[in-house]
């Protein structure tokens, strides 16, 4: 019964997306970390958290992109923004596809933003910005690039 339930519960697209999020398919650690929830549940929970915090995922993505652009403008050496944040981007060769099945490849740029006052830092890729903006997906718990919306709001705005 559970096998049938499994076949019935996920649409073919959802199964494909889940497969792409596993470790070793697109990234080494995958997109779900140690999270037992389905990716749809992760997105729904984060959306609820965002609503409570009063910010949209798009606004967060815009802010992350702002930092990424600032470091691009300065030839990717580290740069200080508004005396509060230190940003640096590293780009390596190659592209990553998005696990959400649509076409398009995202460059492998890794931006690190450090809040000089609290010393907390976040690292995210160009793919993360896309996942947050378009899919509202912040990745599963303990995944390499997981960022809590609450932390981002506190440290990066």
């Amino acid at each position: 019964m559970t096998v049938l339930g499994d076949i019935m519960k996920k649409t073919p697209n959802e199964k494909k997306i889940l497969a792409k999020m596993q470790p070793g398919i697109i990234t080494y650690g995958g997109f779900l970390g140690t999270d037992k929830r389905s990716y749809l549940q992760i997105i729904a929970d984060d959306e609820k958290a965002l609503e409570a915090l009063g910010k949209t995922a798009e606004e967060i993505a815009d802010r992350l992109e702002f930092f990424q652009q600032k470091s691009f403008d300065s030839f990717e050496a580290s740069t200080v923004v508004d005396d509060t944040w230190e940003v640096e981007t590293e780009v390596v060769r190659g592209y990553l596809p998005c696990p959400f099945l649509h076409q398009g490849m995202y460059r492998k740029s890794y931006t690190t933003v450090k809040n000089l006052k609290s010393k907390k830092s976040f690292t995210f890729s160009a793919l993360n910005i896309h996942l947050i903006r378009v899919h509202h997906f912040f990745e599963g718990k303990n995944s390499h690039f997981r960022m809590e919306p609450a932390d981002l709001l506190k440290e990066l705005f």
């Binding site: 049938l4 076949i7 019935m8 519960k9 996920k10 649409t11 073919p12 697209n13 959802e14």
Partner: protein, 195 residues
């Protein structure tokens, strides 16, 4: 059963909808209605499979099972015929209509376990339909199934931005909606007698 195939066709879509009146084909209906494009693809495939398997199973029943007196094996035989046909259809589509295969091909294997397909074959036997009636019934049931899943998919799309209570999310609210739609369709009952 003395009813014209034409009337039976329309009855199968509205007054005796395979899903909303007979509650068959619920599993994939509930899960696939999450996405509108997938629902459309699956619905079209169901129409196809229903029409042809009704015809095939009718022929197998009347020309093989009855003459050889193995009517009691109809359950197994119908399922095997459905599975074989779905497999064959997939191969055919992949060869001659590759664009169509990419759009709906993946849904064909999913249909084999759709109980509406099996249910329609059984109904036509129980109700003693002739060949033409069976095809009309099969096609109409398929269109009725497509209608039901597209309605639910559309409603679920609108529901995405709304606040549904935690316990009712997903299957819960979908079943409630389906129940309400079924009640609406009860209004059609009695218009045409198809059994």
């Amino acid at each position: 059963m003395d009813i014209s195939a034409f009337v039976l066709f329309w009855a199968a879509i509205f007054t005796s909808n395979i899903l909303l009146t007979n509650f068959l084909g619920m599993c994939s209906y509930l899960s696939v209605s999450r996405e509108i494009e997938s629902s459309a693809g699956l619905g079209v495939a169901v129409i196809f499979v229903l029409t042809v398997t009704s015809a095939l199973n009718w022929l197998v029943y009347h020309y093989i099972l009855v003459p050889f007196d193995i009517v009691y094996l109809q359950y197994i035989v119908f399922i095997i015929v459905i599975a074989a046909f779905v497999q064959f259809l997939e191969l055919l589509i992949e060869r001659y209509a590759p664009a169509l295969y990419y759009t709906l091909g993946i849904f064909l294997p999913l249909i084999t376990v759709n109980c509406a397909i099996f249910g329609v074959s059984l109904f036509m036997i129980i109700r003693n339909y002739n060949f033409l009636q069976s095809i009309a019934f099969g096609a109409g049931s398929g269109i009725g199934w497509l209608l039901a899943i597209m309605m639910l998919a559309g409603i679920r799309r609108k529901l995405k931005e709304k606040m549904v209570p935690q316990g009712l999310q997903g299957a819960g609210i979908s079943l409630i909606i389906t129940g309400i739609m079924a009640m609406g369709f009860v209004g059609f009952s009695g218009i045409v007698q198809i059994q």
